[in-house]
Point group: C2
Chain length 224, copies 2
């Protein structure tokens, strides 16, 4: 089927967003690392939960990318099947991201170098691939997109868990594909900021949460 | 509770996104009308479904706003509780939006004037308020955000339906709050482009769809 074929390309090349929270308890400063060809909902599902949280809890947001140019979703479709993309405006480059970052060569180096200063790291969908490539998942449990499970990085010691909506290991949270980032973000809000607030936010989003991290019908669907 | 208070302000002032599809069968040209202070997931939930659809079906996207300046989410929080916002880059202004538009005074006029040329109109969350104010919902069934149900426009003849995840009346689709836009978008894809494709897209999003438009736990939650 044509959709499945193009989908395999899709998830192999986009959906590489990664959300990080910086030192504070609970974290007040959030950075979202934007990669070209990111999946819109990977970022804006969790972001919507945090947008609503920011009405109650003082939060600062940095949208970090290589340059300050708008970062597009799925530009690879241009000239192929469709002309259908959106762009988000970064607020910081890797070079001037909040806190004094030393190594700025690329986003993976950014993750590797930034992680030691983080209170929490949250990787959504195939954003976990970049976290794995950076080495910060070595020796940890993690999960990632199920449709593209076969493409996950294997040349490291990550203990990839197939049947998981999201996985928490120490201060690293990883979620399954796209929509799972909403559940992971709400679970994070519940754990760090309070379950009552997480429930209020889900209700404001009119979102029926998945609250069991081990329940994953999509792992079954994709034969994992 | 502080959250509920700020939430009332939140939903009263943002979440005014509206998605429109232009003449074609099935529609190939999609426009998303962006308003300052829109709710991120109102736009990017449905957009993610369409992004994935665009891998299979040829689609064009126009992101339409008053000017080409980046359009922010929730800027009202700046200087209040948090510094937490994102911006999306429009591709067209109301003045140069695809097709020959006559009256460009504001977004409501844009909806009123554009609707007669539309094949379908899809209003997400309080985007339905703008559609109501434009008059295009007069005499029609529609739904909207449940938490802010009391603020919906009443000086018109819209038959507002409280217990609905989404409502279809003729060529007008309206959805309940924020996340409901994802279900409405997937239902639209199912009806117009094929149910198999809608299922594939939901699976690619790892999203457990609500497929019954009349099932609405949030109407109950908010006592409607």
């Amino acid at each position: 089927m044509q959709f499945s074929k193009s989908l395999a390309f899709l998830v192999a090349t986009l959906a590489t967003s990664l959300t990080v929270a910086r030192t504070a308890n609970p974290p007040g400063n959030w950075g979202v690392l934007l990669f070209p060809n990111f999946a819109a909902l990977d970022v804006f599902g969790p972001i919507e939960a945090l947008n609503l949280l920011s009405e109650t809890v003082p939060l600062n947001l940095s949208l970090i990318a290589k340059t300050l140019d708008p970062v597009p979703t799925q530009p690879h479709v241009l000239g192929e099947v469709s002309n259908f993309t959106q762009s988000v405006v970064p607020t910081h480059t890797l070079a001037n991201a909040p806190s004094d970052i030393e190594d700025l060569r690329d986003e993976i180096a950014f993750i590797r170098d930034t992680y030691p200063r983080l209170k929490y790291l949250i990787a959504v969908c195939t954003g976990a691939w970049l976290a794995a490539d950076s080495g910060v998942l070595d020796g940890h449990n993690a999960t990632t997109n199920k449709a593209a499970w076969a493409e996950r990085p294997v040349n490291n010691t990550v203990n990839w868990i197939a049947h998981a909506r999201w996985v928490v290991d120490g201060n690293i949270w990883t979620s399954s594909g796209i929509s799972a980032g909403i559940d992971a973000a709400l679970a994070f809000v519940g754990e760090i900021y309070g379950e009552g607030l997480a429930t209020d936010i889900a209700n404001a989003m009119e979102y029926e949460r998945n609250t069991d991290p081990t329940r994953d019908p999509f792992a079954d669907l994709y034969g994992l």
